[in-house]
Symmetry: C2
Subunit: 97 residues, 2 copies
């Protein structure tokens, strides 16, 4: 768990990071900088979207493995990275130069 | 439609582009470099994933508008960009330097 712990701490120090969430593959919240309600909302969406994003990839190449999933708007950028046992979700505020 | 037509043609010339697909907001295929079956598969997934990706964004900021979402693996990179009336999907092969 220490590697996850380290990533969790390190990512929070990155510029623009709004929040960080780690959930397991069943959607249980492992670590989060968000409040309980927000963490659970994110977790449900990740568990819902991930298999579909994986399926989208496999349309073009069957044995492809999803390495990350990103959702972006004018102001925010959400990155979801799957690991063997966890999902790491990072919400960033987009900087306008 | 000419702007869409232009983008459709221009994107195909970009390095690494495997295929390009334009669908309307109901999922009907407007233009595609993929075969019929692949185009329909992609279209169904985009229509399924998009509202969930939009919902994911709105957890942290209600009035945020999704500008694109991206699904990436070791070998492939799929970008989906919503427009007022269309979705543009581009599948890229990832180059290893």
């Amino acid at each position: 768990m220490s590697e996850i712990e380290e990533s969790f701490k390190r990512i929070q120090t990155h510029k623009g990071v709004v929040g960080v969430l780690i959930i397991n593959r069943n959607g249980s919240v492992i670590k989060s900088t968000f409040d309980q309600e927000t963490s659970v909302s994110y977790s449900k969406m990740v568990i819902d979207i991930f298999p579909k994003a994986d399926q989208l990839l496999k349309i073009n190449s069957d044995n492809d493995e999803l390495s990350f999933f990103r959702v972006r708007s004018k102001d925010n950028d959400i990155m979801i990275t799957p690991d063997k046992d966890f999902f790491l979700l990072v919400v960033n505020k987009i900087h306008k130069e």
